[in-house]
Symmetry: C2
Subunit: 247 residues, 2 copies
DNA sequence: CGTAGCATTGACGTCTGTCAAATTCTGTGG
DNA sequence: CCACAGAATTTGACAGACGTCAATGCTACG
């Protein structure tokens, strides 16, 4: 078990790693001050549930570090991941009292939370924040729709390639690697989480990863470390083609 | 061919059928005036394409009457519907110049369009509008995520039942039928459009509709008219259960 | 060194897709 | 009003992709 994550709280907004990407991205000093008054940090350990679907939510907030998932579950236990929350992503919905999805930390996680009621007021009063939130919500909507194509129309192999491409692209952005050619990253998800994202079974995920490895599309260091020798090849396997500029 | 739909333009905002549900829902007289200056109506015939993905968009707007679909297409022709646009739904994304999806009128369609550039300015200046847009976008995001569960985890039979339930619910709302028991409505979609929505083939859609009919879950008047004798039964077939209050 | 969780692999079944044909519906023209 | 053409829909036969069930392997941690 790692150290209590609470001991690693990030510094004030100045040095915050998501200062310029989160909902507060375009705030000026006064507006930050305003947010500061209603904010607090919370930490979660890998595997912990942040919120249960149906629970009362009295905060919204941003992922500061770590990764969380948004999932829906049917009565019989079938589950579908409907969102992957990375640093700077926003959690919760102003104007709604109950969580619509389960939010689960897949890695150790730090969140910058805002008390919900005051935050709703801030949104009313601060166009720069509500407009940023609109922009982020539109981006999420686009991502959700892109994912609908993956879920509805792609083969298992294409689904895996699509997921790897998304994660690879994000890793490349985060570490500002060259845009092309070789990329490598760690998978933040178990095979089961991947299957929940992709609408597949865990076994099919495993088989397709093996197949992509066999065909030289990817190489595996450990089970979780992926090397992509040719990113364009991966995109082609995803059925994407020429979307190099996207996202 | 019907009469030129342009001849049936709705009246001024006062009597507009979507006045209290669209992006302008919460506007006061002055704000409506503002919007009025940049708005114009456009009509499309059933089957016409409103916008092609990748095209330059110089307007955004609301569906006033009729139904349109939002679809994505892969190079090899596989398509996935990612949204169903009903009256009051918003089309287009402020701040983006190219359409991300094909928008196609499935019935005769009337749209209330706003020139994009001026509309973006209005959003900046009118919190009531941008906040309404945020709210609508959050609703769409929820709908997209609900649909991800359908696409990723439901069986063909459950998918069909889910789609019928959604359409039935909306029809019930529109015509303010009693909330329970018997419902009936016309399908606004061809079998092919349904298959694009559900991530199935047209043949599977047809077979599952026949099966639901055989099992007494639905009755068919014409091919397009559906009678649902027991709405709760339909929901159960959709795998939803107890979501009676939802949406 | 042993246990627990994660991952891989195999054998087999089934749901859904594919290909093809028949049937019903809709609108048009005679 | 009826005949006809084209589209939409239904139905059947068959195949393949993915799921299910089960065994085995790997890694980490106590």
């Amino acid at each position: 078990m790692p150290l209590d994550p609470m001991t690693e709280i990030p510094p004030e907004c100045d040095g915050c790693p998501i200062r310029h990407r989160a909902v507060c991205a375009r705030c000026n000093a006064a507006e930050l001050e305003e947010l500061d008054r209603i904010k607090y940090y919370r930490s979660f350990q890998a595997g912990q549930t942040v919120i249960w679907s149906g629970d009362r939510m009295d905060f919204v907030g941003s992922v500061v570090s770590g990764i969380a998932t948004l999932t829906q579950t049917m009565e019989d236990g079938r589950t579908q991941m409907v969102g992957l929350l990375l640093p700077s992503d926003f959690v919760g919905r102003p104007g709604r009292n109950e969580a619509a999805y389960d939010v689960i930390a897949t890695t150790d996680l730090v969140m910058c939370c805002f008390r919900k009621r005051p935050f709703e007021q801030v949104i009313q009063d601060t166009p720069r924040i509500s407009q940023r939130l609109l922009e982020m919500t539109l981006d999420e909507l686009d991502a959700a729709r892109e994912w609908m194509l993956v879920l509805g129309r792609k083969t298992a192999r294409e689904k895996i390639a699509s997921l790897l491409a998304i994660i690879a692209r994000r890793s490349a952005l985060a570490s500002s690697t060259g845009p092309f050619g070789m990329v490598d990253f760690d998978l933040p998800l178990t095979r089961e989480a991947m299957s929940d994202y992709l609408g597949l079974t865990l076994e099919t995920v495993s088989r397709q990863i093996s197949a992509l490895k066999r065909d030289g599309v990817i190489e595996l260091g450990s089970k979780r470390h992926v090397v992509v020798p040719d990113f364009a090849r991966l995109l082609a396997e995803a059925g994407d083609d020429s979307e190099v500029l996207a996202h």
